[in-house]
């Protein structure tokens, strides 16, 4: 039983300024399904990138032993040659190529003269598809398949490489219940065929259902490895391992005096733009003036999608539901309508969606409410600079003047520019999506202070965050979201990381 296929010993991986992994060790037995759990950002994906050679030998310290031999991978090709294959959460299929072409991409079945032997490729593809239980023609393009079937194509592709160790990163995150069940079933059959499997997952019920052992990672360290045949290895035990750290004391104090309700959504539903599933499913939520409300959910739970569909239907199709501002139902079918109705949304990815990085601080701050500075279409540039200078001082944006290009600022200062921009629209409710992602501790404190100042002025704030301690530290109430549904609403006094995590991993049928 102690036949170990893979051992990673004392893996330490640092990025400039951040230690992503520190002395992480993990042992995977031959022929088992080994789950890896941890909060967002705990280091799971980094660990898998080290294992698959995305981060080459030398960029980390520690040792990888596969089949008793130390191995050094300098890229995906190296690791695949040794039978280690990773399937990423974002599927790596070329949509307009056929199933067979995708399966053998980069690994083409060649015939005479180096030309591709299509008959052989299609025949082999057909038998691979059969082994993963997918009844499709190998020549049909991948784009015609649903995500669940695409996932199976990825697995068939892995099998074509004579895989010894299959790594799946959040394989069921984008799947519906039926497809998820199929996939888990397939993993069991692969295990019976002797393929070892590492599965990263947030869904604890799946882990308890399928995994033979589970390693919990937290903040770049291994917490423990649980034997899932053990009776103690319950979901609660895993949750404790995932969150088991003290609340940090760097949240500024605030006295909470919630007033009238400012913002409410009822029965809010949004469909995935291309797939046939609901990403937000009948959500009800409200915020009062002077209140900070948190939304907790794991990756893929639909947090950002909820916020963006509310914000002028920036996400999803067939968005339905009712939106009330100050008790009156309003329409916000476009971003400009949403802004007019007093809604502001600061995105989770400020570089891609929040800022014009090649423009200066001043123009970014005025971007969402240029009309306030203009008369008859003409912008008062001096007034604009005055406003921007005001924000720079109020927000403590560290730059010598507002003509600095935003792209040259640090993450924390960029975030303050984003906040300035939205405050200039004079919103009643601010939705802040991951407001402290990727910024350092000092700047985080400043952002929290700004949030406190805003609610003291009577604004309503919704904070979406992956970091539970952050939500517990700054919110008055916390909603939990799982698979697009609100699964709980907890006043901060009653909330703990454990009960939130339990609600965040709660499945639909339990939510009822």
């Amino acid at each position: 039983m102690t036949d170990v296929l893979l051992e990673m010993r004392d893996i330490t991986k640092t990025f400039p300024g951040v230690t992503a992994l520190e002395d992480v060790s993990i042992a995977v037995r031959r022929g088992e399904i080994h789950a890896i759990c941890g909060e967002n950002g705990a280091g799971k994906s980094t660990l898998m990138k080290v294992l698959s050679g995305v981060y080459p030998t030398g960029s980390y310290t520690g040792e990888i032993v596969l089949d008793g031999k130390p191995v050094h991978f300098n890229g995906i090709r190296d690791s695949e040659a040794q039978g280690v294959v990773i399937i990423h959460q974002e599927l790596a299929l070329v949509p307009h190529l056929s199933i067979a072409e995708n399966i053998f991409l980069g690994n083409e079945r060649r015939g005479t003269g180096g030309l591709i032997d299509w008959n052989r490729a299609n025949a082999e593809a057909a038998s691979l598809l059969k082994s993963v239980g997918l009844d499709e023609n190998p020549t049909s393009p991948v784009i015609q398949l649903g995500v669940g079937k695409q996932q199976l194509v990825e697995i068939a592709k892995a099998l074509s490489k004579e895989v010894k160790l299959l790594i799946l990163d959040e394989p069921t995150a984008a799947l519906n219940d039926i497809d998820s069940a199929h996939l888990l079933d397939l993993l069991r059959r692969l295990r019976d065929r002797g393929i070892t499997c590492i599965m990263i997952s947030h869904k604890l019920n799946e882990i308890t259902a399928i995994a033979d052992s589970t390693t919990v990672i937290r903040d770049g360290h291994t917490v423990e490895t649980l034997d899932m045949t053990d009776e103690d290895s319950t979901q609660a035990r895993i949750i404790r391992g995932m969150v088991g750290r003290d609340l940090d004391s760097f949240y500024p104090d605030r006295e909470s005096h919630p007033g009238e309700e400012v913002f409410r959504i009822e029965d809010w539903t949004a469909w995935h733009p291309t797939q046939d599933r609901k990403v937000v499913d009948g959500a009800n939520l409200n915020v009062r003036a002077g209140e900070v409300v948190g939304i907790a959910g794991l990756m893929g739970a639909g947090r950002t999608e909820l916020a963006m569909s509310v914000f002028g239907r920036s996400y999803g199709r067939d968005v339905s539901g009712h939106l009330f501002m100050h008790g009156k139902e309003v329409r916000a079918r476009s971003v400009s309508e949403a802004i007019r109705n007093g809604i502001a949304y600061a995105t989770e990815d400020r570089k891609r969606y929040g800022l014009n990085l090649i423009a200066d601080v001043c123009r970014n701050i005025s971007a969402a409410a240029l009309g306030k500075l203009a008369r008859g279409g003409w912008v008062n540039g001096n007034e604009e600079i005055k406003i921007a200078e005001q924000s720079r001082r109020d927000m403590n944006i560290k730059t010598s003047n507002v003509m600095t290009t935003v792209g040259t600022l640090s993450g924390g200062n960029q975030q303050k520019v984003v906040l300035s921009k939205w405050l200039f629209t004079d919103p009643d409710v601010l939705i802040l999506d991951e407001p402290t992602r990727g910024i350092d501790v000092g700047a985080k404190y400043e952002i929290y202070t700004i949030i406190n100042k805003l609610v003291a002025q009577g604004k309503a704030v919704i904070v979406i965050s992956s970091e539970l301690p952050e939500l517990l530290g700054i919110c008055d109430r916390i909603y939990t979201l799982s698979a697009g549904r609100i699964t709980g609403e907890v006043p901060v006094g009653e909330a703990t990381q454990e009960n939130l995590m339990a609600l965040m991993t709660k499945e639909k049928e339990l939510a009822g």
Partner: protein, 413 residues
């Protein structure tokens, strides 16, 4: 967690900004602060100087300066619309064909039908606007890439030109129409061997620049922003004034003030203001700089894209009028390759390939660099083939400089 690799240099890159801010009266830091913009002016001066030497001063003679203006005015008009499209992240490959079509429509009405000259002008501009609406519809509302839409337009409108003209050339236009591109305003105030009116207009322009510069400066001071020191401000105005007066002096000693220069000056001033100071202009920059961010800031992207193309159509119509007036007729092959000259002008003038960066004045200087080079090489009797090679290399180097500059600034996206 996985993308935490911000280059440390970016942090340290903000430090010198403080020094720049306080040392505003030091001309060297002023130049360095805006290397991207000032680089083009330096290049322009060098090229003008170079050809003045190579042609023994002929290139700066009154007659030749007038010639350059008349010859390249329509390219400069096109470049105004083109740089706005490029800032917004689009392009227009059809403008050469649209110049031909608008000129052809005007020629058919005025020359064949014998209608008054201004009917031709109005018709040409209307056709240009219609073309802009057509392109704007496909790009903004159907969501097609401008490259494809305007490539189709290039073929489409060239074909329509042939149809309108029935494959023959039309000429000549009546005198009034010809005056648009070949006429001069002069003799109003007399003068001994030169045109006093041209000098007066030059002086008015200098005074206008000085007054508006001073007003901008005092407004900035009132808003407590940094400004260049007063002596430096005066020096800059004097320098610009000297260049303009020299230019006016030269024109006054040739044939006077070209009407087309007045048209061009009005357009440059108007569009300079539109791009810098209107909501529309700002939104063009916002869309080109980061489309998603603009969308999520409430910019009505479709409408802005649409009007950018309508504007380009308008300017193509104006260029069509100027070109048909200049060539005194309409030809089926008119305007061939004009789109490439206009695009080159915008890029040489500092517009960024990815969008979000560029200025109207920059595009004008870029266009003039191309004009001065072509003209200088023609004066020197250099073969057409060599001219083409040189122009190609200049475009290549200008964009390479832009990319190098962007990497240096570190505004990675």
């Amino acid at each position: 967690m996985t993308d935490t690799k911000p280059p440390e240099t970016r942090e340290s890159g903000t430090a010198p900004a403080v020094a720049l801010h306080t040392g505003t009266s030091d001309p060297r830091t002023l130049i360095m602060r805006n290397l991207r913009q000032s680089g083009i002016y330096v290049a322009f001066v060098v090229i003008v100087g170079l050809f003045a030497i190579l042609t023994d001063g002929v290139s700066l003679s009154p007659g030749n300066i007038t010639n350059i203006l008349l010859q390249y005015s329509y390219i400069l008009v096109l470049a105004i619309g083109m740089v706005i499209l490029i800032i917004g992240g689009h392009i227009d490959l059809s403008v050469g064909s649209v110049v031909a079509l608008t000129g052809a429509v005007s020629a058919v009405l005025v020359i064949q039908q014998g209608l008054p000259w201004w009917v031709g002008v109005v018709a040409a501009i209307t056709v240009g606007l219609a073309v802009g609406v057509w392109h704007g519809f496909w790009v903004a509302y159907v969501g097609m890439p401008a490259f494809i839409v305007t490539l189709a337009g290039m073929l489409l409108f060239r074909g329509l030109t042939l149809q309108v003209l029935d494959n023959i050339s039309l000429s000549p236009f009546p005198g009034e129409y010809q005056k648009i591109a070949n006429g001069f305003l002069n003799g109003l105030f007399g003068g001994q061997g030169f045109d006093l009116f041209t000098l007066v207009i030059g002086a008015v322009a200098v005074a206008g620049i000085a007054v508006s510069g001073y007003r901008t400066r005092t407004a900035r001071v009132r808003y407590e922003q940094s400004v260049e020191s007063f002596p430096l401000f005066v020096l800059r105005i004097l320098l610009v004034g000297a260049v303009i007066m020299y230019f006016a002096w030269q024109l006054a000693h040739a044939r006077g003030l070209p009407i087309v220069l007045i048209i061009l000056a009005v357009l440059v001033i108007a569009y300079g203001m539109v791009t810098r100071r209107t909501v529309f202009g700002r939104q063009v920059y916002a869309i080109g700089g980061n489309l998603s961010a603009a969308q999520l800031s409430g910019v009505k992207v479709k409408s802005v894209n649409f009007w950018m193309f309508v504007n380009m159509g308008f300017l193509a119509g104006v260029a069509g009028v100027i070109y048909s007036s200049r060539s005194n007729g309409a030809q089926p092959a008119a305007g061939n390759m004009f789109e490439l000259d206009a695009i080159a002008a915008a890029f040489i003038g500092g517009a960024a390939v990815a969008g979000g960066v560029g200025t109207v004045v920059g595009a004008m200087v870029g266009g003039l660099i191309m004009a001065v080079m072509s003209n200088g090489m023609q004066l020197m009797g250099i073969d057409q083939s060599v001219q083409s090679v040189v122009k190609g290399l200049v475009l290549l180097l200008a964009v390479a400089f832009d990319i190098y500059n962007k990497r240096r600034v570190g505004a990675n996206r």
